[in-house]
Symmetry: C2
């Protein structure tokens, strides 16, 4: 593991000064290598799938593990798309003259070495490597043990692509052992790993947050809210609240709790509840909701802090905007929260006062995503405030240094 | 300590939505309170100074501890100046429409609760509190035990100013105990303290980095370089190299190692050496430097990694730009490094390839400072890449959240 860290550091220095065309060529070469290795990828994936079945992995896990042709296509497409994004590295901004005569600005630089720890989806290997490569970083990848053969096959394509573009093959290293202790060792390597990004279940993310000696980019939960304000447009409320819950159930930006102003609950909730029930969503309501919608389950205290990732929704009727904001700031996981309102002042207050990484007006929480935000791709979503916040794309994998241009200037 | 953290969290929520005028009024009210308490501040400071003398603190420490009229003036001036800076909180940037129809941008938000641990200078109490206040954060301050009476007197003025402006007095809390264990407890409080900023000697900063459970903004050393390139203008080289070393010896942005291209060493070094020696600077040279400048001390390996903070300078003659960049990236503390050159390509390569938080061309390293950079003030200098890098002003105490504006938009 120490050698791995040193190799990554050396590669990072070369990646930091790699030319844009060279990085783009590597991305395209990796895509080509994946295309040419399509059969091999599927063979190696079959080994993992067989082992997974024998080990008794459940159907959802096996599905995430599978490298179908469609998923290989998506990986290839993703690499080519990242090649078309503009290179953030070396970007200079905010140049201005100071009264002393010096000219000062900032230049975007890579973070250095990015460690990524992820679970069963082997496509993360290519996606994460591509984002780190484009942003001039070196990467150490540690995938799930159940995907080890698939990941190694993808890693071989990545090395080949890097070498084709005359970039250091060690710019992307995949940890080859499935030994769990390797993760522990990686999390201690603060001198050679600049940031760790865990992607996976809550258990993994909690372990990484607690043990890592270096900074971590992460989100633990996605407990997202939609608040239907007293000044909501009814149709927009129905559309957004329905879409936020039902467009996909298992994603972190899915709404888990619906808040409704008591001024409009009687008008909107029965219609909305019918839409949910028709879709097969189980509703759990506060006391007032229960009075309005007969035959629904009563929400317990724990419901307000639960990420269901399932067709279940908790509903609470609140007195006003203040109570809605208070509920959100107390129970939200600071991922994404949305207000439905036509009121100017309420929309401004919600945007300012809700302390989450994405705050929305009249839009579905499902939009909280790197692609939807125009970042090109995302390496994860951060619910922390330090460094990156919200969907993290190329920019979140970089930093800014100051540059100062003078003409022999000295300080008086 | 737990109560302190909870109070800070509560205050942070109110500070986050405080109006700009209210924050500015508080800053001015604190300045007024300091002015009105001038005699009391000096009396309390005299208690600290007397105790320090009895304890046998050295002259430099006692000097830093002293609250003279001039220093009180500077504190008051600093507060008023921060009141005039524009408010970063709520600033919206990068608003644009996406093909889906949503409009997306980012809003600047406070970090939350900032912990600051510092040593003897009591004026840090006012400076740090002012920056955190303006940036909408709550602060927990822990000053040196030798300044406890001075710090408490300043803290009383701060509370008074906050209350005058109807802001929560707990927005700035000073830890009242001098018990060293309180620092240990503070460093564990990751649920209530969002970031820690240590200001002081290397021992303090190392302790904080190692023990803190939350992110840390810090720099350990200031080992800064000036490289006189083969294409340097001689007069600029003399001016900048002399100023970078001698303008002040004890600051972190002072040059500690001078690198000189062997193409120009014979022309420039003897004149420069005479300037240093006349000023009382001890020179320590590599072998080649020794051949050129008779009678100077030979540098040892440790010299290239030493922050002298004193009238001592190590000098190394290098073959070319590559060797200069390599030396800097190996020995620099990533604080500030400057090249003296008239060559376009060399200047561009130095700016891109030197991996430090401030990189300069033809300018004195002494410019690396929040005031000189136009940040208004600085809370410290970060040599890390995560979050803030270089001098940290108001912006480094903030984060960005995404805001999304729609019109009933749902995700397809």
């Amino acid at each position: 593991m120490t050698a791995l860290g040193e190799n990554a550091q050396r590669a990072a220095k070369l990646m930091a000064k790699a030319e844009t065309a060279q990085k783009n060529a590597a991305l395209v070469a990796i895509a080509d290598a994946l295309e040419q290795s399509r059969d091999q990828l599927k063979q190696k994936n079959a080994v993992d799938l067989k082992a997974g079945e024998e080990k008794g992995l459940d159907a959802a896990l096996l599905d995430r593990l599978a490298l179908t042709d469609a998923r290989i296509d998506t990986m290839i497409e993703g690499l080519k798309q990242i090649a078309t994004l503009s290179d953030p590295i070396g970007e200079i901004s905010d140049m201005s003259y100071r009264p002393s005569g010096i000219q000062i600005g900032r230049m975007r630089v890579p973070l250095g070495v990015v460690g990524i720890i992820y679970e069963s989806r082997p496509n993360v290997t290519a996606d994460a490597a591509a984002l780190c490569l484009k942003s001039g970083n070196a990467t150490i990848l540690r995938g799930g043990s159940e995907a080890i053969h698939s990941n190694q096959a993808i890693a071989a394509c990545i090395r080949q692509g890097l070498e084709n573009a005359s970039l250091p093959a060690d710019a992307v290293q995949v940890i080859e052992t499935t030994d769990r202790a390797a993760v522990g060792a990686l999390l201690q390597m603060k001198d050679s790993v600049d940031v760790i990004i865990p992607r996976g279940g809550k258990g993994l993310i909690e372990r990484v947050s607690n043990e890592a000696k270096m900074p971590v980019i992460k989100h633990l939960d996605g407990i997202c809210h939609v608040y239907i304000d007293e000044f909501a447009d009814k149709q927009k409320a129905l559309d957004v609240a329905f879409n936020s819950k039902t467009q996909r159930y298992g994603t972190c930006n899915t709404m888990e709790t619906l808040l409704v102003s008591d001024k409009v609950a009687a008008d909107i909730l029965p219609d909305l509840a019918k839409m949910y029930v028709d879709e097969g969503v189980e509703l759990r309501g506060c006391e007032k909701t229960g009075e309005l919608l007969k035959n629904i389950k009563q929400a317990e205290a724990a419901d307000w802090d639960t990420e269901y990732l399932a067709p279940i929704l908790s509903i609470k009727i609140v007195d006003d905007l203040d109570q809605a904001i208070e509920h959100i700031n107390q129970h939200s996981s600071q991922h994404t929260d949305s207000i439905i309102t036509e009121n100017y002042t309420h929309s401004r207050r919600f945007l300012r006062e809700v302390d989450s990484s994405s705050v929305m007006v009249n839009a579905s929480t499902r939009f909280a995503d790197g692609f939807e935000y125009g970042l090109g791709a995302e390496i994860g979503i951060s619910t922390d405030k330090f460094h990156a916040r919200g969907p993290v794309g190329l920019e979140g994998l970089t930093s800014l240094k100051y540059i100062v241009l003078g003409d022999g200037h000295t300080r008086a």
